[in-house]
Symmetry: C2
Subunit: 233 residues, 2 copies
């Protein structure tokens, strides 16, 4: 009776569905569930220790995120990635990233810009030390872009890129081991972008960001053409 019920504001307490959703999403992105593989609801439910109903709610959300495809009575399959789609994604990223960058140049606070520089310095160190290299390429890159999105003060572009496109790009990187092979060059481009933002030059910021993403996209297109040639299209 006399329990002290210091009720903390435990925001966590995610529902089971949420937990399953996140774990499944990670499993798909990181390739633990192979592309195109069929998903057996009873089997997965047992693995995660939840009921099928709970699992199915998570599946519904994953389907809406385009991470898996479901057809009535046939079940769910993990999406299959193609380089064509990846190019599509980079085109979207280019247009939206450029826009976000222009907005960020107008709306970021001076403080945020300083923090951006600090972040880039940390990136430089981790490249030099050559140990966090893969980290930089895998997550640090997204960290930088994420802050730009935040700075744009546009909730929609954040949701589209962070909630949709970036996830898919991560998935490609994991599964095709396509880390960008030019960390120093990328860092230099990032610095120039921050310069433009600092000078509040929205047009230049847009241009630089587009060019930055374009570089990656073109390298993918190149790779794609080669792949097509190899398999004798």
């Amino acid at each position: 009776m006399g329990h002290e019920r210091t009720k903390m504001i435990e925001t966590s307490s995610l529902s089971l569905t949420d937990q399953v959703f996140e774990r499944l999403q990670a499993a798909i992105i990181e390739g633990d569930m192979p592309q195109g593989s069929k998903i057996s609801e009873p089997e997965l439910a047992k693995i995660y220790g939840v009921s099928r109903g709970t699992l199915r709610e998570a599946l519904s959300r994953l389907e809406e995120r385009q991470l898996l495809v479901r057809s009535p009575h046939l079940g769910a399959r993990v999406i299959t990635l193609s380089l064509e789609e990846l190019v599509d994604i980079y085109q979207v990223r280019e247009a939206l990233g450029g826009m976000a960058c222009a907005l960020a140049a107008q709306k970021m606070t001076d403080e945020e810009i300083v923090e951006l520089r600090v972040l880039l310095n940390a990136h430089e160190r981790s490249i030099e030390e050559d140990r966090g290299l893969s980290y930089y390429q895998q997550e640090g890159e997204f960290d930088f872009h994420y802050r730009i999105l935040q700075g744009s003060r546009n909730s929609k572009v954040l949701r589209v890129l962070e909630g949709g496109m970036y996830q898919l790009i991560r998935m490609y990187r994991y599964q095709f081991s396509m880390a960008s092979p030019r960390p120093y060059q990328a860092l230099k481009e990032h610095r120039r972008i921050v310069d433009a933002i600092e000078e509040r030059d929205a047009e230049l910021a847009d241009l630089l960001m587009r060019r930055h993403i374009q570089t990656a996209r073109k390298s993918i297109e190149e790779r794609h053409k080669k792949a097509m040639a190899h398999r004798g299209n």
Copy 2:
């Protein structure tokens, strides 16, 4: 009504969840469920004649589409729209619409371009006859933009705009009765865009589409400022 090429195989019957999802989505967009209103699962389930489990799957998808917000143990509420968000949406639409238009200028077939012209002629007639005026504004506009998206051959931009942004814009239009009050001007702009596409001038097509959307966005921003002034911010 456009021709449906490569239409999917006659889907025998959508699952109950799918039906509920679509009906709910329409109800939210068209304002049958007021903004911010709380959703009672047992009540809704009874109305649609399905079990709560079925309903909850639909709710999960709606949540992922940002049409409603759910918090653990507190239930689901229809999203609340703000003009700030609408501006965000139009910014995204501007960047993506421009990009799609540039791509369409490169990739649309001559046939598709002719069909675009036919569509615009139909729009003109329905404006002149003054009977389908609201139809043109409400759906015809989206029809035009939808075909551009199709023509871009970019599956992602189609999904983002058609599956996310356009829905929200429709919702605003329904609930704030914000049909664009300049059908003739819009039609003229649409024609110029098609001209640019026909000439395969990607850069111009991009510019014209951006400007076209910008016009709408600025009128919204204007309206927003007025509203803010009125309520004495």
